[in-house]
Every structure is written in structure tokens, then in C-alpha cells.
């Protein structure tokens, strides 16, 4: 469901816009960046925030 929520937000982006998502380590952190890249988006930043939470910035090229 994490990817579903991300995808719904990505559909609202214009070219060049970015979306910042907070992902838990494990399946969401592995799945979301991999799948957005497969769908033609760019992952421009990945950073550890705290504990098992990571920030991923996705750009619509």
C-alpha cells in the first residue's frame, strides 16, 4: 500500500516536480525506489531520518 499511496501522489506531479516520501526500512524502502525507477521517475535523494525511517526524494523527469 505504500507504493499505491506514492503512486497516487506521483500522478499529480508536473515535469520537473519532486515528491518527498518517508519510508520505513525493509520492504517499503526496497520496493518504492525500485518501482518508481521502473516507471520512469528518478530517485534524486535517499537519506536516513531517524530509527527505521528514511526520506526518499523522487523527481518526475
Amino acid at each position: 500500500m505504500t507504493f499505491v499511496k506514492t503512486k497516487l501522489k506521483l500522478e499529480l506531479l508536473e515535469e520537473g516536480d519532486t515528491l518527498e516520501v518517508l519510508l520505513k526500512a525493509g520492504e517499503p524502502l526496497e520496493n518504492v525506489p525500485r518501482t518508481v525507477i521502473q516507471q520512469g521517475f528518478e530517485v534524486v535523494e535517499t537519506a536516513h531520518v531517524k530509527d527505521d525511517v528514511h526520506r526518499v526524494v523522487i523527481k518526475k523527469p
Binding site: M1, F3, V4, E11, T35, Q38
Partner: protein, 159 residues
Amino acid sequence: MSEKNKLSIICMSGDFDKAIAVFTLASGAAAVNYEVNLFFTFWGLDILKNERGRRFLGKGILARFFNFLLGGRNNLPLSRLNFGGLSPLLMTGLMKSRNVATLTELYDAAVALGVNFYVCEMAMHVLGLERNDFVPEVKDVLGVATFLELSKGGQTLFI
């Protein structure tokens, strides 16, 4: 150019937990660009009624009682440990508290991602219902042959 991946689900159950499974799979597949077709039949029709609560719907006294007893999307029972309808409420609370999508959120996501909803013509007639008893997101009312044609070339699940 390769054809789009396709997932078709025959949604026969009107159980809360199975509806969660249907909409989780449907929205997940649609999010990764699958064509998704959901074919609702028998008890599954309860999920798509316009009236989400308990209503005497349909033609004929028996059909009206059946539809009243089914209860609509707000009253879907758990397939196990339903406890007179208390468990789906507890389960929804649990899902919210654990940041897991609820049935309503999953349904809305499926709609937003373009999942196709179809109603089984035969089941609709058995329950004395009409096209306008269902949510506007229903794309069409179909028979088996048309659904098989739609699902051809993809994966099909029965829930």
C-alpha cells in the same frame, strides 16, 4: 510494443477481509500499471451498492429481504470471528492505528488508479437489483462470456 500486464479478479465473497484482499491486490497491481478487472458476483455485489447501509433494495419481497440482510458495504462481516459485526469495526480501528489502508481507502485508491469494476448480470437479476443500484464507478454489467474475453491473456483470481 508489449501488451499491458493484466489481472482479473472474480469477487464472489461479501466478507470484509476478502474485500480487503481484493482491493489490496487490485490497487497494488494498478499502481504498477496493470490493467485490473474486478468482476463482482453474488455476495460480492454488496460491496458495490450505492446504499452502503442496510436497505430493502431490489424487486420482489425475497430479494428485498436478502439485500437488507446483506447489509451493504458498511456491514460486511469478517469471514471468521465476526462477533455479530463488531470485529470489522475493531479491525478498521486496528488498521488505522497501524497506518494500514482501510477498505474505504483501498476502494478509493482502486478508483483513482483506474481499476475496472464489472457487475455480474445473472447475480444482479437474482438479487433483484438494477444498474442504478450500484456505484457510478461500475463500468458495465457483464455475463461470463464477456468477462472471460476481458480477462484473456492475463492472470485471473477467484476470491
